[in-house]
């Protein structure tokens, strides 16, 4: 059985060590926060929140506390605030241990495409994705293994406009966990329960190495 979205987030969360400072993108990445219980992890948000806690309980929302996805949040003990310039200084200066993003495509050289689906996109929206791709200490992608119509998202070279070059270190999909190694490319780490390497290879657009 391939992983559900929630299981993908949980699988990724299991690999996050205590103490890391982590920035989570919108979508499945955001769900990672629900699965690190028991470990102290510092969640940073581009809009200047360092140390986000879980979503607020009904009736306890503070409208001045939101994350980069514009969702209401709470603060952990130890949280602090900075403005946007200082927040991105933290991101671009290499102080975020891990950034987790979704993707349209990941190439075997680590290139990431996740912001625009065409060079002629009307008004593509980049947000902080390029800053995170260029600046975080490491970038993991969590995404479905293929598009809805079955095309591979793990590819030899990205066809969509790039977000960052050679920046993806690891990919978590519904089928597998795959490292992106310099010079080598995609290397299988782990399969979802009941999924075979052959299936992963059949649904990928680039060679998937395995030991």
């Amino acid at each position: 059985m391939p992983f559900t979205r929630d299981q993908m987030a949980a699988r990724l969360a299991a690999d996050v060590p205590e103490g890391w400072c982590v920035n989570l993108g919108i979508g499945i990445p955001t769900m990672v926060a629900n699965h690190v219980q028991g470990k102290e992890v510092i969640f940073q948000s581009e809009n200047g929140v360092i140390g986000m806690g879980p979503a607020p309980a009904k009736g306890h929302e503070d409208p001045w506390l939101i994350n980069a996805g514009k969702q209401l949040i709470t603060l952990s003990r130890g949280a602090s605030f900075v403005g946007h310039a200082d927040s991105f200084a933290m991101i671009r200066g290499g102080h975020i241990d891990l950034c987790v993003l979704g993707a349209f495509e990941v190439a075997e050289n680590g290139d990431l495409a996740n912001w625009a689906t065409s060079e002629n996109d009307t008004a593509p929206a980049v947000g902080g994705a390029m800053d995170l791709a260029a600046g975080a200490k490491r970038l993991w992608v969590v995404m479905e293994h293929t598009t809805k119509d079955g095309r591979p998202k793990l590819v030899e070279r990205c066809g969509y406009p790039l977000t960052g070059l050679a920046c993806v270190r690891r990919v978590y999909t519904n089928l597998a966990v795959i490292d992106v190694l310099p010079e080598k490319g995609f290397m299988l780490v782990d399969l979802a329960p009941g999924v075979t390497l052959d299936e992963v290879r059949a649904k990928s657009g680039a060679t998937i190495h395995a030991n």
Partner: protein, 231 residues
């Protein structure tokens, strides 16, 4: 006596000229100078360049300003929103210019303008479509893009508390773009919820010293838990 507090939104926005570059603070619903934007709509300045993170939601605020044909160009990181109808229509019809800048680059370009730095290098966008038209340079074997400072004629910002020197204290995630924008404009106008006596704000809590602020107008929504209208 220094007193930057003005008594009306109209007074706060007096003198904003056609053709101005307007830096607009806020991120999501938090820290938006929504009342100042309404004031700018009233005030009448046109041919504006708007610098902000998003390109407006629905038909209010910045979206309304655009719909009225008052914005020539928008510089932002994320033109999409939950309801980007006005921007998308204008953009499709070629009636508004768009400059997309990565969010961190946007913040850093504004800071640079405030800090006297005409240009700097960043790895963000290197090798991507957004480096097109920009100077690229290697340092220590790595590729960087040169980005230019982005100053404003006017900054419209929001804060939680102010005093008559224009010192500002933000609340929660309300700082966001506001402190850098305050640094980078010739005329910085702040909308605040609470006015405090001089000396009441803790010196270490003031994120924007009044030196950066020209005018302060109070927009009291009556306490901690009232959400700004644009939310």
């Amino acid at each position: 006596m220094i007193n930057k507090i003005v008594q009306s939104v109209a007074e706060a926005l007096a003198g904003v000229k056609d053709g101005s570059t307007v830096l607009i603070g806020g991120f999501g619903s938090v820290g938006q100078p929504d009342v100042l934007i309404e004031g700018l709509i009233e005030q009448g300045a046109k041919d504006l360049v708007a610098v902000l993170n998003n390109a407006g939601v629905g038909r209010v605020g910045v979206a309304r300003l655009m719909e009225l044909g008052r914005v020539r160009k928008i510089i932002c990181s994320f033109p999409r929103s939950s309801d980007p109808v006005v921007f998308e229509t204008l953009y499709r019809e070629g009636r508004i210019e768009l400059e997309i800048t990565p969010q961190g680059t946007l913040a850093e370009r504004i800071r640079a303008a405030g800090a006297g730095i005409p240009a700097f290098y960043t790895a963000t966008a290197a090798g991507t479509l957004l480096e097109q038209g920009k100077e690229v340079r290697e340092f220590d074997g790595k590729r960087y893009v040169m980005e230019r400072a982005l100053p404003g004629d006017v900054a419209l910002i929001e804060a939680w508390e102010a005093d008559r020197w224009g010192n500002l204290v933000y609340r929660g995630s309300g700082a966001n773009f506001n402190p850098v924008m305050a640094m980078a404009a010739t005329l910085t106008i702040a909308q605040v919820q609470h006015i405090r006596e001089l000396g009441e704000l803790h010196p270490h809590m003031i994120m924007t010293p009044g030196v950066y602020v020209n005018r302060v107008v109070q927009v009291d929504r009556g306490g901690d838990w009232v959400k700004p209208e644009q939310a």
